[in-house]
Each structure stands twice: as structure tokens, then as C-alpha cells.
Symmetry: none
Subunit: 195 residues, 4 copies
DNA sequence: CATGAATGAGTTTTCATTCAT
DNA sequence: AATGAATGAAAACTCATTCAT
């Protein structure tokens, strides 16, 4: 007992499934990752996956729920703040941190939109984005400033997956992306506030 | 003769396959669209598809090649221009038009990145984007301004698929998106030129 | 007219189909050679093949009929000869020549027995072999001598396709094979005649 | 429980697949035997076959590996013996026994050479034959005696599938074939030893 | 003498899922 | 907490063949 083979501290399996699944989903996409592949990576049988999760989709949902917690907290916080410039800037910073903290998940969401769209997490994610939008955007702002805010959001997203292909220091890149995004919401806020 | 059922103006089939395939690919994603589905939509057999295209991927490639022609022309034009602000703004305008002119295709590219990545069009598209980047970005500009240019590009992309979910006049939206993107390259250019 | 493209002296096509088909059948096997492949090798369409031959099998049958003519002549000759040793030796020589004269065909027959068995040429070939056997074998000879005669036949066959993998001068090999085969019928004849 | 339908002694399926597959492969050929046919013969689904074997080819490979074991043992034995006449005769006897012990498999190999050639078992079998050749053939023997040895081998092969079409007592036939083959290696050995 | 367009029936293979043990 | 065995549905693709032109 406590043998070499059984190293795996028990109770661990669920977490290990999530980890491997996310890695594969992010690397290959959801549809191209089969449960067989996940099981083999873990050296368990497919049936074992079904002991821990009801369906393939459930695995993904559970990952999303676990990893998007910080984002949810951010939104909850933002909702109670005044629509001030500081709040908006803090939201941008927070979102950037949330993305960085669960990069594989968000990269997955980016790259598998068509698939994600008709999975349960599709709506979950969409509603988070709407929440962010409602915090950032002033409904009375003109269209251009509204677009600036949305653009700020997508700048952060794109920063994750596009800049990977670019030369240059990653830390410097992240900072630059954050600056551009912050700039955009600031311009948007000024435009509206000044009018 | 010339019956109702046989309406099918001959020679038409290849084009009809491309049309239906693109519509389905954009709507459901590449993997979730089966050749059976495409064939049934057209009221032909699967084998007929294989008469016109060697593989499923080939259908997609042919669509991409046909529809990305304007983008290619734009790049060819841009390569020979001076790296002036006017050129950059014209590139943004042109890219916006190219996207609008083949919206379903580019929406598809956006939403199926994980899939597209290991299809032939993955590299084709990537290299187009690199070309655009090289035209827009001044290699001596600082990181922030470089990010601004890339952001301009993605603003246009995101404009296509995100704004669909937004209320408001589509034409006004498109104009706003274009303005934000133009603004970004302008700022980037000023920053660099002024330094 | 008499243009560069149409070089192909007309009327030739049927023959060209047979040639290419035999080459491919021998190289890859009957089932693994598709009509598409044959057509493409000839730079014509599949439908063109159907102008010249009713079915895939028909192509093969026509090849067999054309190329097995010498064998048929040999058998016809042998049937009218006395069952002397000279006759038997001549049959062996003749069969060797027939095989050499249509090597790809007979190699094909060797290597595709399972397939050939339920094609029309299966029975055609089988009956030729029975004819040869009846000429070579004395029904009153003992089993061992009968086997010697059959072995002589198969020695020639095997000589074609096995020796290809062997080092050594091909001509010397062919001569050696012929000598062994001749030896076998001679022994068989002596055994029977001497008894 | 223990119902008539569920007879299937569990754990049995893999073996049953191999048995049925070999029977069908030998009877109809590899290409003309579909997995559907095998599955239906066993009253399981196609997918069940894939639970036990990764590909169609794997089924064949596994059969070959299981059934060619005695041949491998024979070769292993032969390699360590002196190149004496007794050794050679024993090899012939042993090969005859090996063929008889797995007649359907070797018949299959005979009749599907074109197919087998580009499957993994093609090379496996070829190398076994080369091993046998190296044991039987004296490299200093003249070509004719070398051919005699090879012919001995093919006599045994041909004995299996040709004699099926012949009248006469099968046991007597087998004995006769063995005698002819033994005779051939003996002649070959004498020729070389005497020189 | 040949092509362009298409079909129907089939192939091997893969997948998410189930369930008795 | 997991496995071994299996399934039903579907996928992409191939092939010999047909026929109007």
C-alpha cells in the first residue's frame, strides 16, 4: 500500500482530468480532442471519466466554472461601483489579470467560438461579457465611444493569442496591451464626460 | 424536358456547393458541418461533392481563395506605397471593405481559429495578416504604438461578429468601428513620427 | 488537325488502356487499382474507358485473352503429340517461354489468386493449367511422379516472382530454373516408364 | 441469466474475431472481406472489432503472429544447426508441418500476395522465407542447386493450394509432396557436397 | 471518340456514451 | 473509484458504373 504505482494521491483524479482536458482543449480544440485521448493521457479508461463527469461538455463546464471565478468576482465588484473613470480602468486591469490567470481557458474560448456557442458555457461567457460591457459603457455615450470600450476588451483578448506569434519581451507586450486598452476606455470616458 | 426538378442550370453546381458550404460553415462551424448536410442542402449526393472537390478541406480552401482575392489585391497595393499615414488609413478602410465584402468567410475564420489553425487556410490567412501588419507597423515605433496598429486590425474583426449582438443601426456601427480603427493607426503614426 | 495535342495515333487507345492497366494491375493488384487511376495515367476520363470496355473485369479479360494466346497454341500443339519425354520437355520449354513473354500478366495471376478466383479469367486460367497437367502427367504414374510434374510447372512460376528478390544474373537464373523443371519431368517420366 | 443469446463466454471475443476473420480472409481475400461482414458473422457491431483491434490490418497481423510461431521456432532451431543434409531435411519436414498446422493462414498468404505485399505482414513473411533460404542454401552451391532448394520450399506451398483441386487421397498427396521436396534438397546437397 | 456530371452502395474508422462487474 | 466490453450513430472518402451531350 502507498505503493509506487498508486502515487496518485486519491481524490486527485477529478482535478487531473480537468487539467489535462483543458490543456488538450486549448491545444487542439474541443471537437478534435476525444475522451479517449484525455483518458490515455491520464492512463485511465474512458469509463473513469464518466465516473467523475456526466458528459464531455460537463468537463468543460466545470473547468469554466472553476477558472472564471475571479472574473465573476470582478464583475460583482464592478456592479456596485460608480461609473467613474477609475472604476473602468480598474475593470480593465482586473480583466487583464483574469485573462492572464486562466490563459489556456480564455485562449480556448477565443479559438473555439463556433463550438462554444452551442455549449452551455457559450451563454455563460456571453453574459459575463455583457456584464463587463454594461459596466464600461455609458449608454448615453455616442457609438464611437461605445466601440472604444468594446475594443478595449478585445484588445486584451487579442493580446493573448496574437502576440504569441510576435517577437519581443512578453512582459513588455502585456504592459503595452494594457496601456492601449486603458487608453481606449479613458478616451471614451473623456469623450462622454466632456460632452 | 427542361422539367421543374432539373432546374439546376448546369455548370452551376461547383458554385452552389461553395455557397452552401460557406453558409453552413459560418453558421455551425467546420467540424459540425458534415458533407452529408451540405449534399442534402443541395439535393445531390455526397459523391457529387467529391466530383467537384477532392476533400472537405478543398472546399474551404477554394472558398477562401475566391473570397480573399480583394484582400490580396489590397496587400499588393499596400506593399508598393510609402509608409505614410494616408497609406495606413487607406489600408484600414480597404480591410474594412474586404471584411464586409466577405463577412461570412471572415466570421468563420474568427470563430473557428482552433480548427483553421491546422488546415491549409490557417497559414494562408496568417501570412496575409503578417503582410498587413508589416504595412501598418513601423518597426521602430515603440511597443505601445505597434499594439495600437494590431488593435486597429482586430477592432475591425471584432466589429463584425460582436456588434451583431448589439442593438443599434448597423451602418452607424460600421462607421464607428472604422473611425476607432482609423484613430488608432493615426495615433500610432503620430506617436512615431513625432518622436 | 494532326495537332500536337492529338499526337496519339487514333485507334490506339484501346491498346494503351490495356498496357497501362496491366502495368498497374501487376504492380498494385487488381482491387487496389482503380479505374480513376488508369484513366489519369492515360490522361483521359473514366468514361472513356467505358467506351472501349464494358467493365473493369472486361479490361482484364481482354488482356488475358490477348497475352495467353501463345500458351493456348502450346497446349493445342501438345494435345496432338505423343506423351513422350521429348514432348514433355518441349512443353516445359514452351511454358517457360510463354511466362517470360507475358511476365507481368502471369506475375499478376500469381499474386492475385484470391481475386482472380472469382473473375472470369480464374476459370480460364485454371483450365489451361489442367490442360498442361494432362499433357505432362501420366495418369498411371505414381503420386510422387505426378507431383514432380506439377512441381515442374510451379518451379517456372515461382522462378518469375521469387527470383526477382535474389541477387545473381537473371539469365543464368532463368536457365537454372528451366533446368530444374526439365529435370523434374524427366525424373517423373523415367520413374513411370521404367516401372 | 446464462441465456441462450448471451452464450458468449466472455473474454472470448478477441479470439472469435481472429477465427472468423481468418476464415473469411482465406475464403474471399483480404480486400473483399469487409469488417461489416466479420462483425455480422459474429453478431457484434463493427465498433466492437475496433475495441479489440486498432485497424483491419492489426487483425491480420495478430493472426499472423499467433499462427506463425511454430515457423519461427523452426527457424530459430535451424539457425543453430550445422548445414548438414539432416538439418535441411528436417527443415523441410518442419516447414511442411508448419504449413499444415496453419493451412488457412498460409493459403491466404499464397493467394493474396499482391495485397500482403504492402501490409506489415508482407515484410514479416518475406524475412521468414529469407531465413529459411539461408538455412537451406549453400552459398557456394551452383545456381541450379540453389534453385532446387527454393523449389523445394515452393513445392510445399503449392502442394497446399493446388492439390485441393486434385482427386486422390489427401494424406497420400501430402506424403508425395514431402518426398519430392526432400528429394530436391537432397539432390542439391549431394551436388554441392560431391563437387 | 470521348467528356462532364452524377449516383448508390460501400468502405474503414472514430466518437461519446452505457452498463454490468 | 474504476474497468472491460460493447454500441449506435455518424464521419470522410472511394469505387465502378451510367448517361446525356
Amino acid at each position: 500500500m502507498n505503493g509506487t504505482r498508486q502515487q496518485r494521491r486519491r481524490g486527485d483524479t477529478r482535478q487531473r482530468i480537468q487539467d489535462v482536458a483543458l490543456a488538450l482543449f486549448a491545444e487542439q480544440g474541443y471537437e478534435k480532442t476525444s475522451l479517449r485521448e484525455i483518458a490515455e493521457s491520464l492512463d485511465v479508461t474512458k469509463a473513469a471519466l464518466y465516473y467523475h463527469f456526466k458528459t464531455k461538455e460537463e468537463i468543460l463546464v466545470s473547468i469554466f466554472q472553476d477558472l472564471s471565478r475571479p472574473l465573476e468576482d470582478l464583475i460583482a465588484w464592478g456592479r456596485d461601483q460608480p461609473h467613474s473613470l477609475e472604476t473602468k480602468q480598474e475593470i480593465i486591469r482586473g480583466y487583464s489579470a483574469a485573462l492572464a490567470g486562466a490563459a489556456p481557458l480564455f485562449r480556448f474560448m477565443q479559438e473555439n467560438q463556433a463550438t462554444v456557442r452551442d455549449l452551455r458555457i457559450g451563454n455563460m461567457f456571453k453574459s459575463r461579457m455583457f456584464d463587463l460591457r454594461d459596466i464600461l459603457i455609458d449608454p448615453e455615450a455616442d457609438m464611437v465611444d461605445q466601440v472604444r470600450c468594446l475594443t478595449a476588451l478585445f484588445t486584451l483578448h487579442a493580446g493573448m493569442f496574437v502576440l504569441r506569434d510576435l517577437e519581443g519581451d512578453p512582459e513588455e507586450q502585456r504592459a503595452a496591451v494594457l496601456e492601449v486598452a486603458t487608453d481606449l476606455v479613458t478616451q471614451a470616458h473623456r469623450g462622454t464626460a466632456g460632452a
